[in-house]
Symmetry: C2
Subunit: 436 residues, 2 copies
C-alpha cells in the first residue's frame, strides 16, 4: 500500500511545525511555498531597520529539508485548491493530489480601504515588505544627504500607524537606527536634532491585550527614545510626502509604516468555506475543517478558539508553531487509525521589545516583567524560537552579537539601481514630489 500523501501549503511556523512532527510518520510529504525560504516574522522590523540582514531573518527551506527524508519541497504559487477532488493547483507545475492537506498560508496586510495606503504605506509582514522599507529609508537618507532642504519637507519624519507589538517594536528600532547609527553615518546632517518618530494608535492605549502597567511602561520607554506617541488618532489618507490624520490634521512625512492590521491570505476566499474576522477560517477543536476531516487549517489564516478559555487565540508565531505541530500529530493519529485530539494552546507569555535593553513581558497567569530583565527574556524566547536547526545557529550568534554590540553592518542598499520594483516605487514618489 502506498503511503498517504500529506500536502502542506506554506512554510511558515505552522506549516514547518506540521512537517517536522511528521518526520517519522509513514507518510509522504510535499511542502509548497512561493518563496524558497522560511521567514522569521518576529524579526522583520529588525531587517527593515538595518539591524539584521535578510539571511538572518530568512532560512532556506531546502536546507531544512535535508533532515527529513519523507518530505519534498517545491517553490510554487498555489493557484487554487479543489477540496472535492483533493487536488492542489499550482502555477507552472503539475497539479498535486493529496490525502491530507494542511492550509498554512498565513495572512496579508489589511489597509481597511485607507486612501493611498496601497501605493504609499510600508507594511511589515513579509520579507519583501521589510526589504522595501529598509531600502526606502536608506535611499531617503541618501536623498537628504544630497539635498538637505528635504528635511523641511518632512523627509526625517517617520510615522508608524498601529500601536500593537509590531508598531511599538518598529518605532523603537527606528529611533535606534536614527540616533545610534544614522547620526554617525551622516555627520553633516542634523539628524539628532531634526528626526521625528511618531506612533499613531486609533485606540486609547498602546498594546491593547497587555496589562495597563505594561502599556504605561511601553509608552514611557518609547518617549525616552524620542518617539512621540499619539493615542486616539488614526491615519485616514496617505500621500507620498504627507499623511492626513482622522482629525483632519496634516503631518509631513515620506515614510508611513503600516502596522495596523492583517487579513487572511486570499486563498481562503477561494476555498468556498466559512470565513470570519478578516477572512479567517474557523476550525474545529482538532484544527480540521468542519466539513472535511482530511483538511487542517492553521496559522494566521485560521481562526482558532481556545478550548480552555473559549476565547480566540491571537495571530502569533507561537500559536502557529504549536498548532502546526498539533496538526502533524493529528495527521499521524489518523494515518495510524486513531482519533484526532483537540488542540490546547500553552501560553508561554507575550512580549514586545522597545529598543535595546527594554521590553515588556506578560506571563501566563498574572505575572509581568519590564526593563532589562524583560528584554533578556524577550531575547531568550526569540533565540529559542530560532533554535532547532543547525542552519540557524550562526544567525543566533550574529544576532545576539549585533544586539549586544550595537553593530550594524547591514545597511548596504543592494537594491539600489538593480531592483526595479524598489526603484519604481521610489521614482514614482520622487516624481510626484517634484510635481507637487
Amino acid at each position: 500500500m502506498q503511503e498517504p500523501h500529506v500536502v502542506i501549503l506554506g512554510g511558515g511556523f505552522a506549516g514547518l511545525g506540521a512537517m517536522e512532527k511528521l518526520k517519522d510518520a509513514p507518510v509522504k510529504i510535499t511542502l509548497i511555498d512561493q518563496n524558497n525560504y522560511h521567514t522569521f516574522q518576529p524579526l522583520l522590523y529588525q531587517l527593515a531597520t538595518n539591524e539584521l540582514d535578510a539571511n538572518q531573518v530568512g532560512f532556506p527551506i531546502r536546507e531544512m529539508m535535508h533532515r527529513q527524508d519523507n518530505a519534498l519541497f517545491h517553490q510554487a504559487k498555489v493557484m487554487s485548491v479543489d477540496l472535492d477532488n483533493k487536488v492542489v493547483h499550482l502555477d507552472r507545475m503539475e497539479p498535486i493530489p493529496y490525502d491530507y492537506l494542511v492550509v498554512s498560508m498565513g495572512a496579508v496586510v489589511n489597509f481597511f480601504g485607507t486612501k493611498g495606503a496601497q501605493e504609499y504605506a510600508f507594511p511589515l509582514y513579509t520579507m519583501r515588505d521589510a526589504l522595501l522599507l529598509k531600502t526606502h529609508i536608506n535611499r531617503l537618507l541618501e536623498a537628504v544627504d544630497k539635498n538637505p532642504a528635504l528635511i523641511d519637507e518632512g523627509a526625517l519624519n517617520f510615522c508608524i500607524v498601529g500601536g500593537g507589538p509590531t508598531g511599538v517594536e518598529t518605532a523603537g528600532a527606528l529611533s535606534e537606527l536614527l540616533h545610534a547609527v544614522a547620526f554617525k553615518d551622516y555627520p553633516n546632517l542634523p539628524i539628532n536634532e531634526k528626526a521625528q518618530i511618531i506612533l499613531f494608535e486609533a485606540g486609547p492605549k498602546l498594546l491593547k491585550p497587555f496589562k495597563s502597567k505594561l502599556q504605561k511602561y511601553a509608552k514611557k520607554a518609547l518617549e525616552k527614545l524620542d518617539v512621540t506617541v499619539r493615542l486616539e488618532e488614526g491615519v485616514s489618507e496617505i500621500d507620498p510626502t504627507h499623511i492626513t490624520l482622522s482629525s483632519g490634521e496634516l503631518v509631513k512625512t515620506h515614510t508611513l509604516v503600516w502596522a495596523a492590521g492583517i487579513q487572511a491570505h486570499p486563498l481562503a476566499n477561494s476555498l468556498g468555506v466559512e470565513q470570519v474576522r478578516g477572512g479567517r477560517i474557523p476550525v474545529e477543536p482538532d484544527l480540521s475543517l468542519n466539513s472535511r476531516s482530511e483538511v487542517f487549517v492553521v496559522g494566521d489564516i485560521a481562526l482558532i478558539t481556545d478550548t480552555k478559555t473559549n476565547e480566540l487565540l491571537p495571530q502569533l508565531g507561537s500559536v502557529a508553531q504549536q498548532a502546526g505541530r498539533h496538526v502533524g500529530e493529528n495527521i499521524e493519529r489518523l494515518v495510524n487509525g486513531k482519533q484526532t485530539e483537540p488542540f490546547e494552546y500553552t501560553d508561554k507569555g507575550t512580549m514586545a521589545a522597545i529598543g535595546r535593553g527594554a521590553a515588556i513581558v506578560q506571563m501566563p497567569g498574572n505575572g509581568t516583567m519590564t526593563g532589562h530583565a524583560a528584554w533578556l527574556a524577550w531575547l531568550g524566547v526569540h533565540l529559542a524560537l530560532l533554535a532547532g536547526g543547525e542552519e540557524k545557529s550562526s544567525t543566533i550568534v550574529d544576532w545576539g552579537w549585533n544586539i549586544l554590540t550595537k553593530k550594524r553592518g547591514k545597511r548596504i542598499t543592494l537594491t539600489d539601481e538593480d531592483l526595479e520594483a524598489v526603484i519604481a516605487t521610489s521614482e514614482k514618489r520622487e516624481s510626484e514630489q517634484e510635481n507637487e
Copy 2:
C-alpha cells in the same frame, strides 16, 4: 587659508586606498560612489554561487568613514567632469569643485560586440552582476524541480567563457555548488548525473599570464571537479537556451557566464583625454594625467606602465590598492609643497582558487605553489586584503567558517517576485523559450 579639496570618484580599492592615505593630511575629502558600499570584487564569484552573502562581499562606505574625520561621502552618479573648471557634475546634486581629483571609477564589462551577450550573458564584475547570476541559478534549479523536462533542454548545462582567474574560479565554485549542495537540495533531480560545466577559452591555454606548470595544474584540478575545459573555442552568439561557438557548434545552455573581458568605465570617454586598450587612460609615472598635474587616475580605469619592467600592470585589486595609496601620498606631497614621486608596484604574487582546497600561486621571482598550500596562501592573502576595517572582521570569520565547513546558508532568493529587474530578465527568457 582653506584646506584643499580632494574629490575621489569611486570607492573601490583604488579610491579607498587614496582616501585612507590622506587620513592625517591637511585636506578636505569628498568621496563619491553610485553605491553606498565598497565591493570586494575578488569574491563576487562566491556571491554568485551562494557561498557568500551580499553583506560579506560589500561593505557600507559610510561605516568606513567613521574613522576618517576629514572625509565626507555622497552616494551619487558622476555625470561628467569639467577638467578646465575643476568641477565634478553629479546627478540630482550640486556640482562639486575640487583642487585635486582622483578618478577611480573602475571598469565595465566588454562583450566585444558578441551577439546576444548584452541581453543573455551573465558578467561578473559588479555586485549587481553577481546577484543577477545567483538569482538566475537559483530560479533555474527551481524551474527544473517543477519541470524536469528542462534538463534535456540544457537547463543543467552551465557555460563560462574566458579562461582567466574569474572564469576558472567561477567554474570551480559552480561545480561545488552543484555537486556539494544542489544535489542535496534537490534529492528528486539527477543533478550529479546530468549537470555539466563547460569552460571555454579562445586561446590555447587557461590563465595566460601564469607559468605553464600552473596552467596545467589548473586544468587538471578543474577536470577533477567535472568541469570540461575547451581551449581554442570562443562563443560567437548567445541565445536564451543555447550558445553558438566560434566553430559553429551549438551548445544547449540557459547560463553563460561572461568572464572574457572588461573595458574602462565610460566616464573615461567623456574626459577628452587619450585612451588606449579598452578605453583605459594612460598615466604619468606619478599616476597623474599628462596634461593635468592635479588629476590622478588609478585602478581598472587607468593604464599604468611598471617603472621597473616597462610592462603594463594588470587590472588587479592589489595594483589598484597600491596605486591608490600612492596617489594619496602624492597628493599629500603636493599639498605640502613637495614633488610627487613615481609609482613602483610591489608584486606580492598572483593567484587563483580552483574550488575548495586547490589553488595556484605565482610568486614574485620564479616561485610557484599549487594544491592545499597554495589554497591556504590564497585564503591568507584575501583575508589580509579584507582586513583593515573593524566592520570587516565578522566577514572574515563568517567567510573562513563557511569555507572550512562547506556551509552555505545563503541561497535565499530574496529577489523572487520582488525584484523586477531580475524577474523581467527571467520572464523574458521564459517567454522566449516558450516561443521557440
